[in-house]
Amino acid sequence: MADFIKKIANIDRRYIFILIALTVIIPLLFPIGMPVTETKEVMAVYDYIEKLPQGSAILVAMDYDPAALAEVYPMTLAVFHHAFSRKIKVVGMTLWNTGAALGELAMREAAGDIARVGEDYVYLGYVVGDVNVIMRMGEDISAVYPTDYGGKPLAESPMMKGIKNYKDIALIVDIAAGATPELWVAYAGDMFKKDIAVGCTAVSAVGYYPFLNTKQIIGLIGGMKGAAEYEKLVKSRGTATAGMDSQSIAHILIILLIIIANISYFVMRRKDKLLKKA
């Protein structure tokens, strides 16, 4: 028994990897359909966009790279889907050069047949500089991006005729894998007084609660769960909702592993104490 407990306490990590792989793959193949409950920070973003008048414009900054796709891509698509269905114009851009192509893919995929490039959305792509880009866009977007990602002059896009700078943008949504929301809050939010909503990975989400509490951001979509909540609100079942089952089971597995590890630890510790006494 003691040897068994010792083996459990020092189990080869590869067995843990196999268990994790199974808990992720099986629910994807055989969905359970776990219900998703909306949280108020995600609802805040949804309600804000829902209340915008038709024809207004939002800026979506897709500041992520392929590594974070699983968490942030579904929320990007959900936000676009929401905006396009409400006839809200979308200006897309990115501060991350590795995300430039991803932004275009996301906008094209979300637009489908319901939105047209140049009329309902424009993708500006990537330009070098973080703070520089944010601040200069506050004065004149076309000075930073004279053309869109496809090389077409911005002046030729019908929807950009009424959009010169942040004053013509109702909301900035930063969907980020890194720390760019802090730049958007500090510069676009504090200096230009724009409302900012943040979408981010689950790990980073905790760091943005202070901004939420001080109302420096109007809402927060955190991780795959936040993306699943937004998908539920816009009534579309995307990869985030599908991934919730796997994430749920994986979390339960990790909790069980922690409990087992602690049980084995206490048993081993008790055994060592008894041996010492003996």
Binding site: D65, T98, S204, V206, G207
Partner: protein
């Protein structure tokens, strides 16, 4: 008799005209005065006096020469489209609403002289307003161009469009309703945007910077004069020598990572400070230090630091430039390369000193699997839990910045550490005082610390 007949005739004409059915779109209304004729009204409203017949026809005027004084004439639109609204509704809609009042424009304070702030009292008919448009000109008499717009219930706008410092500008505010009817305010001006020499918004930052820097410099000054300062033990820093010793004994290398931020990041600089100490000790023991770099700029600096450490240790011949190399600036390409390096080289000690992102756990777990002793230090609060879980020792937040002082034991550096501690005490006192005052509804402290 004739007078009576005339009066009777005018009365019946008035009654006849007033019976008309006003079911057409109108441009406005005119109360007929002595001398008013339809010809002049048509010229005024249409620019074409020949259209007087339209006014006559729509108002059912039998004789345009004998229109009674005081009667209201409705001026139809040229198309004279038929509508179903009551005339009272039409008049109410067409009636111009009250413009905004008390328009003032002033130079925006604490800026670079390229913005003007315009404020006004809302129109009394603000509920009918769809937007307020702000117009600007360089003269009071005309040439006003729109520079911005704000929705109803807003009484302020900051104009930052193409202003030139020192030039004079005039402003007015145009209230517009949903049908496009607008009312302009009085013109205000001239106003000159001027650059200020001090940004008042940041005054508390300036005061805080002076206070904190002053405290640190004071402590450095006392350290220079020989005063000794007590600093508490930090297990992670004390383990640095142990880690280097372990690598030397096992005949294996040390792996040093300075994070994924560039040279501009203060945590990278802190990591480089620690690197110089570690590289010096490693050079003394002839222990190789491998440094895969994520940023070529940082790589160049790391090479200089390690070379300098070897020179200081008198072991320039053991310096190998190829141990410090650029891998990739892509996050996960870098991680893949470093993981491979860990599994192949199996370093005995691994240092993570700098700013890390999501890759921190991947690196730390891989390092753990090789059996290396791992010491991490980062100011990235999102990655600290992963390092704490996976590494043997972790320097939390500012301990990373303190590490170079601990390792060198230089009096000046220890003095600066003390200054940091005293500054923190001042900050804690301000927080406690602020919380107590806020609890009693006194907002002075929180207002002082807020940036407008």
């Amino acid at each position: 008799m004739i007078l009576l007949m005339g009066l009777a005739s005018a009365g019946s004409l008035r009654a006849q005209i007033e019976k008309r059915d006003v079911n057409f779109e109108i441009l406005g209304t005119v109360t007929m005065k002595k001398g008013d004729i339809l010809w002049n009204l048509a010229r005024r409203y249409y620019g074409d006096p020949l259209k007087w017949t339209l006014i006559k026809e729509k108002n059912k005027i039998p004789d345009e020469r004998t229109i009674p004084i005081g009667i209201v004439i409705y001026i139809p639109t040229v198309e004279a489209k038929k509508i179903e609204k009551k005339v009272e509704e039409i008049i109410a809609e067409k009636k111009a609403f009250a413009p905004v009042t008390s328009v003032t424009a002033s130079d925006t304070p604490s800026d670079d002289g390229k913005s003007v702030t315009i404020t006004w009292e809302l129109s009394p008919d603000d509920d009918k307003v769809s937007q307020y448009e702000i117009l600007r000109s360089s003269t009071a008499s005309g040439g006003f161009e729109p520079v911005g717009q704000v929705p109803a219930k807003t009484n302020q706008y900051v104009d930052e469009r193409d202003l030139i410092r020192g030039n004079e500008y005039y402003y007015k505010v145009r209230a517009t309703d949903k049908r496009g009817i607008s009312a302009d305010s009085q013109v205000f001006g001239p106003v000159k945007p001027v650059a200020q020499w001090f940004n008042e918004k940041y005054k508390f930052i300036g005061i805080a910077a002076i206070v904190f820097c002053g405290i640190i410099i004071y402590c450095i000054y006392h350290a220079r004069r020989g005063q000794e300062f007590f600093v508490r033990r930090i297990a992670g820093i004390e383990a640095v020598d142990e880690a280097i010793g372990r690598a030397t004994e096992m005949g294996r290398s040390i792996l040093f990572l300075t994070g994924l931020s560039g040279i501009g990041s203060i945590s990278t600089l802190a990591g480089l400070n620690i690197l110089s100490r570690v590289a010096r000790r490693a050079a003394e023991y002839d222990t190789p230090v491998l440094i895969p770099a994520c940023d070529p700029f940082v790589m160049v600096v790391e090479r200089e630091i390690v070379k300098g450490a070897h020179i200081d240790a008198g072991k320039l011949d053991t310096y190998k430039e190829d141990n410090i190399y650029f891998v990739s600036d892509d996050q996960f390409a870098y991680v893949a390369a470093v993981d491979g390096l860990m599994l192949r080289e199996r370093p005995a000690a691994i240092f993570y000193m700098g700013y890390f992102f999501a890759e921190s756990l991947i690196l730390a777990e891989t390092g753990n699997s090789t059996g290396a002793i791992q010491i991490a230090g980062t100011d990235s609060d999102t990655q600290l839990p992963f390092f704490i879980a996976a590494c043997d020792y972790t320097l939390i937040g500012e301990e990373l910045y303190a590490a170079s002082a601990y390792l060198s034991r230089e009096p000046l550096l220890l003095g600066s550490l003390k200054g940091q501690d005293w500054s923190k005490l001042v900050l804690i006192a301000a927080i406690v005082v602020g919380v107590i005052l806020e609890s009693f509804g006194i907002h002075w402290v929180s207002h002082f610390f807020s940036v407008p």
